[in-house]
């Protein structure tokens, strides 16, 4: 069998076997106990040529409704945003995407500097002092923040708002289980975290208080109050944040956050059926040495030139082994690069303009729904999501919308039983006025 990924020729093979001093490749596998040697061939689908493979995969991809073929109003943590075309051109430079973790800095200055710039941009948006080089996603990043808080405070309880993404909360609980940390949920009050409840729940065993800003329902909470409650109790205040919203909102770092986490997916990263996205993790100075994952720092070479290296590695698993507080090794470097390019392209002006478009279009949609007689529940200010009470079962409605070329919103009844029949609708800058009007009309259509 010849294959375009395998350069070995018969004459290569012979010369190499001779140099080794064996008669066959099989001899090199003689240390595998005979009893367990695999004596048949894998039962896999037959190999495909490049042409046939692309045909088959295109057909599979074609079975899915996507946000190019449909107008998507689905958010809930993953968004259809403007992706500047240069993002894909940069991350397609194979010096970046075929490289490993930059363990040899002289050979990896490009990647190291790009990560340093990513760290800097995340600090700018979040108002935090230090950001790491990325985490798997927003959910595991929040879980790691909880573990950091428990380790730092030596306390064993986390309070997490029910207005935090339900799947993020689930991930936090699984990590907490491993570490024998209790997780209690702070109830909701009109779609926002009930701070009075927080006040009564917090106690001397509370390591951290976790909120989302804007929260899962799109509501912009005044999290300063939660920060004060946490700090009076010497608990860490942890904020999960959509970084795009921070272009116009007071950053968590200015509102008392000790740790800010989230997902940079809104910046140039495709939805990709849920991953890979790009978690970010940012902290105050005092927590610098507790950060999980890789950090890039600036330094100089022997001739005094500026350069970048992985630093403070004594925190990490390859040095500390079982004493490490996180096991993270690979991260989402390429997606951090994508986010950096998108943040550079949008730049200081573009992130504001894009965030403002999200808010303005969402306000327009809220008005349109209200005018059509829908109840828009929760009265607080919205970023790019809001909740509508629907007139028919949400799953039926969404299937109907698909036929009309629309990907509808998230069915909140799936994770909030009290919100059965409610839909979380996301309106990004990608949606036109006509598409918003069409959504309202199609939802109305059942009455016609």
């Amino acid at each position: 069998m010849k294959h375009r990924y395998l350069p070995m020729t018969e004459s290569d093979k012979k010369q190499m076997l001779d140099a080794i001093g064996v008669g066959s490749i099989d001899e090199l596998f003689s240390d595998i106990p005979e009893k367990v040697r695999f004596d048949r061939q894998y039962d896999l689908k037959p190999a495909l040529s490049e042409t046939d493979l692309l045909k088959e995969l295109s057909a599979l991809a074609g079975q899915n409704a996507d946000s190019n073929s449909h107008a998507s109003f689905l958010g809930a943590g993953v968004y259809d945003h403007y992706k500047p075309v240069i993002v894909d051109h940069v991350i397609s430079r194979s010096e970046f995407y075929t490289a490993y973790t930059p363990y040899q800095p002289e050979f990896s200055q490009g990647e190291l500097q790009a990560i340093f710039e990513f760290q800097s941009m995340i600090c700018e948006l979040t108002g935090m002092d230090i950001a790491n080089s990325s985490m798997y996603d927003g959910g595991t990043s929040l879980a790691e923040a909880g573990m950091l808080a428990a380790g730092h405070t030596r306390r064993k309880k986390l309070l997490i708002s029910e207005a935090v993404h339900p799947e993020y909360r689930d991930v936090v609980k699984t990590y907490a289980l491993g570490q024998s940390i209790d997780v209690e949920e702070i109830p909701l009050k009109d779609g926002q975290t009930d701070y009075d409840a927080l006040r009564s729940m917090i106690d001397g065993d509370t390591a951290g208080v976790m909120v989302q800003y804007p929260n899962f329902f799109g509501q912009i909470e005044n999290i300063q109050e939660a920060a004060d409650i946490a700090h009076e109790n010497k608990s860490l205040f942890i904020v999960s944040s959509n970084p795009l919203a921070l272009a116009v909102l007071t950053p968590p770092g200015k509102l008392g956050a000790d740790i800010t986490v989230g997902d940079a997916q809104p910046f140039g990263i495709p939805e990709a059926f849920g991953g890979p996205h790009c978690g970010y993790f940012a902290v105050t100075k005092k927590l610098m040495r507790k950060v999980p994952g890789r950090l890039v720092g600036e330094t100089n070479d022997e001739e005094g030139r500026r350069g970048y290296v992985l630093t403070l590695q004594a925190r990490e698993q390859h040095i500390r082994r079982d004493k490490a507080t996180s096991n993270i090794c690979s991260n989402q470097a390429l997606n951090a690069l994508a986010a950096s390019v998108a943040m550079s392209a949008l730049g200081k002006q573009g992130v504001r303009e894009m965030a403002l478009q999200n808010i303005s279009k969402t306000q327009y949609a809220i008005r349109a729904f209200k005018e059509a007689g829908y109840e828009v529940v929760f009265g607080g200010p919205s970023f790019n999501e809001f909740v509508v009470k629907c007139n028919e079962p949400v799953a039926d409605l969404n299937r109907r919308l698909l036929d009309a070329g629309i990907i509808g919103g998230y069915h909140l009844g799936l994770t909030y039983p009290e919100l059965e029949g409610h839909m979380l609708i996301a309106v990004t800058e990608q949606r036109t006025k006509e598409e918003i009007d069409a959504l309202v009309q199609e939802m109305e259509a059942i009455h016609a």
Partner: protein
């Protein structure tokens, strides 16, 4: 090569320039001060760069030229499997029906994506010899932790609350013990014997009623096959423990032996190693976990199942360890791995391992006269040399690594595994030609000669890179972890 400082994107920024293009707002603009409560309207804008599209493209192109990837040249980084990343995989992952699909869409609208995931799971079941596979874990370490959480839940479901110890060889990767800790388990180290394999007598000594699992990489990090694996499985299973297979080195054994047949109960795979997901400068990866029947009830939620010819996510799993990641894993990387498996087929995957092992043994034999070879037997897909002989002449393994940069080669993994003095772990992979291997061998032989005749040239390397050796001590003592604008009064360093 240029030797000047490379400007940061912030340093090329100029007020008033833009690099984006948004449509005109087609609805009335919202007055933010009217919408937001007091104190929540951002006062100071985030100081992101202001640059034109060309400025940005040039900046990142310049950075890419200061970086070495597999497409730039040979990258024999041991235990990382730096093989060629096929371009058709990239095209596949960018198909709109994969790239622009939302994870929370109605299942009926994503059957193609779910079908691909299901088929990939089935292929990985066959390749590993396990009974079921989940694609949820985002990376190898995430997979290790996921599987350990499942093993822990299995023991607890059996009322076995005292199985808290995970046995890990001293040659193991650092994520193994760290994953055990994060799963709330304690690490017990088992020693290697003089042949570089797990010391069976020491294993017998450390196992017991408190053993939750043994974590093993096979072939191990020395590139040697643990030929006593069946006896080890018997020992661990004999006391009621589980066997965990770290799939970092699966590239050595495809089509030759399967973890499931060797007695392993759980396995993680690194799709970004064996199955050509690009390493991306550190990620994203994908670390699916495969398990035997007994562990299936504990799989993370949701589990992808096929019902009446349709694919669906099953959340009704009462014994599940819970959710380990939002959504369903790193789908984009899984698409690439699927494209690779379908490109190779069964025969192709077997050849992958045969050629990876042939290449490694060839290099090992040709380099053995010039460097110390601590474990002199057939290796699998990688091998470890020791720089002891060179160290006696004043040249350390670090120096050898830096000197290789001058030849345009990425160095091997160095100082790992920890049980080899001045170790150099070399993994050529099957996608490299004999000519490339020979060029690297020649460079190594030349460096060995330089070490004897002209050690300064090695000690002072690299000579041709865009920077010379960097001061890592300074970086750690006075950490500068972000760009600080010169006009601000903030100190440059954070302490």
């Amino acid at each position: 090569m240029h030797k000047e400082n490379q400007p940061l994107i912030f340093e090329i920024s100029k007020e008033g320039r833009i690099g984006y293009s948004l449509p005109e707002l087609d609805v009335p603009e919202t007055d933010l001060s009217g919408l937001l409560p007091e104190g929540l309207l951002r006062e100071e804008p985030a100081e992101l760069p202001e640059a034109s599209e060309l400025d940005i493209m040039r900046h990142y192109t310049a950075l890419s030229k200061r970086n070495h990837g597999v497409d730039s040249g040979f990258y024999p980084l041991g235990s990382c499997t730096m093989k060629y990343n096929p371009k058709v995989n990239e095209a596949a992952a960018r198909l709109s029906g994969f790239a622009n699909v939302h994870p929370l869409q109605e299942e009926s609208s994503v059957q193609g994506a779910m079908g691909l995931m299901y088929d990939l799971q089935e292929h990985l079941v066959e390749i590993t010899g396990m009974d079921e596979v989940t694609l949820q874990s985002a990376a190898g370490a995430h997979g290790e932790w996921t599987a350990l959480m499942m093993i822990r839940a299995f023991h607890e479901a059996n009322g076995d609350h005292n199985r808290t110890k995970v046995i890990i060889p001293d040659s193991a990767h650092g994520t193994n013990p760290a994953s055990a800790t994060v799963a709330g388990l304690e690490t017990i180290t088992v020693k290697s014997d003089e042949n570089g394999l797990v010391d069976i007598e020491d294993l017998k000594r450390v196992v017991g009623e408190d053993t939750a699992a043994l974590m093993l990489t096979n072939p191990n990090t020395l590139g040697l096959f643990e030929e006593n694996i069946l006896e080890m499985a018997e020992i661990v299973h004999g006391v009621g423990g589980k066997l965990y297979y770290d799939g970092a080195n699966l590239n050595a054994i495809m089509g030759k032996v399967r973890p499931g047949d060797m007695g392993f109960d759980a396995v993680h795979l690194n799709l970004h190693k064996t199955f050509t997901g690009p390493h991306g400068g550190g990620g994203p990866g994908s670390g699916p976990v495969g398990v035997k029947k007994e562990l299936i009830p504990f799989l993370p939620k949701p589990v992808l199942v096929k019902k009446d010819d349709a694919f669906t996510f099953d959340y009704d799993r009462p014994q599940s360890i819970g959710r380990i990641k939002p959504f369903y894993g790193n789908f984009g990387i899984n698409v690439r791995a699927y494209a690779y498996i379908r490109s190779m087929g069964a025969e192709g995957l077997k050849l992958v391992s045969e050629y990876a092992v042939l290449n490694a043994n060839y290099m090992m034999r040709r380099l053995a006269p010039h460097f110390d070879l601590p474990y002199d037997r057939h290796c699998k897909h990688e091998f470890v040399l020791s720089g002891r002989r060179q160290k006696q002449l004043g040249v350390r393994t670090l120096d050898i690594a830096k000197r290789l940069l001058d030849f345009g080669f990425h160095p091997p993994t160095i100082y790992f595994p920890l049980n080899v003095e001045e170790g150099m772990m070399i993994e050529p992979t099957e996608t490299e030609s004999k000519e490339t291997l020979d060029a690297f061998i020649d460079a190594m032989i030349q460096i060995a000669r330089e070490t004897e005749e002209n050690p300064e040239i090695v000690q002072e390397a690299p000579h041709t890179t865009v920077v010379s050796r960097l001061d890592e001590t300074q970086a750690a003592r006075k950490p500068v972890l972000k760009y600080n604008r010169p006009e601000t009064a903030e100190p440059v360093a954070v302490n």
